[in-house]
Amino acid sequence: MFKSEKTNDFRDAETVIGPSVKVEGDFSGQGNLIVDGVIKGNVSTNGNLKVGDKAKITASVSAANALISGEVRGNIIIQEDLELTATAKVFGDVQTKSICIARGAILSGKCTMDQKNLKAENGKKGKGGVEESLGENKSADEAEDNFD
């Protein structure tokens, strides 16, 4: 999704929060957002969100798609695809349609996936379509214990 983009490429991103910038308050936008700095407040965009490995977001996040490599302390709601890279640290509940978690990523919270879509896909594929719903994951406390 974002792999071909560079942080300094502003052409596709409506907003780029660099590593030397501190943002406080509720950020909401329509286009793509790249965060490499610190945000204390809710982040919401109708476009894609990329959170860099040094970024830190303290509040809830919502976007169409997201690639997270940094730290998010808050709930995440993603309309389509969520990707957590090996350096990602998420402390909060996640709600998304599809998810990809790399080895080394920390996800500490409840993960809920779009049940309607999963059922529809199950119907098409037969019994073995989607084996497990991440909606019935471990609780956040359990997950944190495992990583601590």
Partner: protein, 243 residues
């Protein structure tokens, strides 16, 4: 009718030939109008205000970025079309309009290709290109929703029309682009961190009371309220314009 406003610095002897050449060329193209020369007793603003009473079609700034800035701040709510004939240095705005020199400018005026563009507004002062301030102790409040604070030395630049080659801003979109650059000292070379925000309004304050610089010319005291006037200005542009 065209009103040509020649900036004060063009009264210097070294510009005599260029001014004469422009006047001849305009006559050749049938674009001759009223030539007004700014002088110590006649300011650019007073000339524009006086000439606007006769409802001229086109006001042409002959000079540089500063001349153009003064013209756009003098025409007020008038719907006069603005053109530029660049003479001398500091003419990056004319270049982004696709006008490289005075000869090309006369041809562009003759072709009369018009574009409506946005104007940035800082307090009550319009700007075409950019406004900048040092980011030391500078805080930006964007749309009253969130604040942005740079954490190191550098610059905050608010851009309506990008006059550099890397064209990242569109002067027709009703938005201003805010670039925040922070310079970090490295072992061999300095690193520059960049942030970029699009907005149509912001309040920028500098706790050290440094001034905002508009179009590399005018200084304005902080705090400032920044906005954008969409499609405010009709300008004559060349085919090679950058937007």
């Amino acid at each position: 009718m065209h009103i040509y406003i020649f900036d004060q610095y063009l009264n210097q002897k070294k510009y005599e030939r260029i001014v004469a050449k422009i006047e001849t060329r305009l006559t050749d193209l049938g674009l001759n109008g009223k030539n007004c020369h700014v002088g110590p007793l006649k300011s650019l603003r007073s000339i524009v205000v006086e000439e606007l009473r006769n409802t001229p079609k086109t006001i042409v700034a002959v000079g540089n970025n500063g001349t153009l800035n003064q013209v756009i701040n003098s025409i007020g709510e008038s719907d006069a079309v603005v053109g530029i004939i660049p003479v001398g240095g500091n003419n990056s705005i004319a270049e982004s309009f696709g006008i490289k020199d005075e000869d090309q400018a006369c041809n562009v005026l003759s072709a009369r290709l018009m574009e409506k563009i946005d104007l940035g507004k800082i307090n009550n002062q319009y700007f075409l290109s950019n406004a900048r301030i040092s980011n030391k102790e500078t805080i930006l409040e964007i749309k009253g929703k969130y604040t942005v604070e740079p954490t190191g030395p550098g610059q905050v630049e608010v851009i309506n029309l990008n006059t550099k080659n890397n064209n990242t801003s569109n002067p027709n979109d009703g938005q201003l682009e805010i670039f925040i650059t922070v310079t970090k000292k490295g072992m061999i070379t300095n690193e520059i961190d960049r942030s970029f925000i699009q907005t149509d309004r912001a309040i920028i304050n500098n706790l050290l009371h440094e001034n905002f610089i508009i179009d590399d010319l005018i200084e304005i005291k902080t705090p400032v309220e920044i906005g954008v006037s969409k499609n405010k200005l009709k300008v004559i542009v060349g085919k090679e314009r950058r937007f």
